[in-house]
């Protein structure tokens, strides 16, 4: 699953560590999500969307 997290994170000048602290996961998890190596759970996706003030659909691009 692709996502726009890196672009949105850079736009509000957050480091991976800052974002990880905000949604209570490790920096490694943020890195893996950004690279598309790991799909987060629904609660984590909601927390990410809340940080960027957008919807989950705006954050993640589902590829069937």
């Amino acid at each position: 699953m692709k996502n726009n997290i890196k672009e949105l994170r850079n736009a509000i000048k957050l480091t991976q560590g800052d974002l990880a602290e905000r949604i209570e996961v490790s920096r490694q998890t943020i890195n893996a999500i950004e690279k598309g190596k790991f799909d987060p759970s629904l609660p984590t996706a909601f927390r990410l969307a809340a940080v960027f003030n957008c919807t989950i659909e705006e954050l993640f691009i589902y590829e069937s």
Binding site: E21, R22, E24, V25, T29, N31, A32, F38, T44
Partner: protein, 142 residues
């Protein structure tokens, strides 16, 4: 309290909780190794009483349970990726240990190896496999 401050305090407590639980696993593991050594070497060199041997085995079992519980807490306190890494590593370790353990026992029962199959080899194999699996799984997601 501002939300920024609240989040920082919360994540700091999460980090320190993880460090604490990792240290707890290390302490319990060292204690278990020491009690296991006490049972093995104590009965050989320190005492002859079977009652003391039984008591030290019970102590070793109790400390072993403590180590398992500490490990369980450590896994539960990780985030979802850390839990996935642990789960994959444990699954691989379990599967490989069963397959390699049975093959090793068959080497013994068919007299293809000179010495008897020792459980300590399997425990060593499990430990090394688990460490390698965690290392490679962590790299896979980095």
């Amino acid at each position: 309290m501002s939300s920024e401050l609240y989040i920082n305090q919360k994540s700091n407590s999460m980090k320190s909780k993880l460090i604490e639980s990792r240290n707890r696993v290390a302490k319990w593991s060292v204690a278990w190794i020491l009690t296991t050594a006490l049972v093995t070497f104590g009965s050989q060199f320190l005492w002859e009483s079977q009652i003391i041997t039984v008591l030290t085995i019970i102590l070793s079992l109790a400390v072993g349970v403590g180590m398992v519980m500490a490990n369980r807490n450590f896994v539960n306190e990780g985030d979802e990726l850390q839990r996935k890494i642990q789960l994959e590593s444990m699954g691989l370790t379990l599967g490989l240990s069963v397959v390699v353990g049975i093959a090793y026992a068959q080497l013994d029962t068919t007299d293809l190896i000179a010495q008897d199959a020792e459980i300590s080899f399997l425990v060593l194999f499990m430990g090394l496999t688990y460490i390698l699996c965690v290392f490679f799984n962590a790299r896979k997601y980095s």
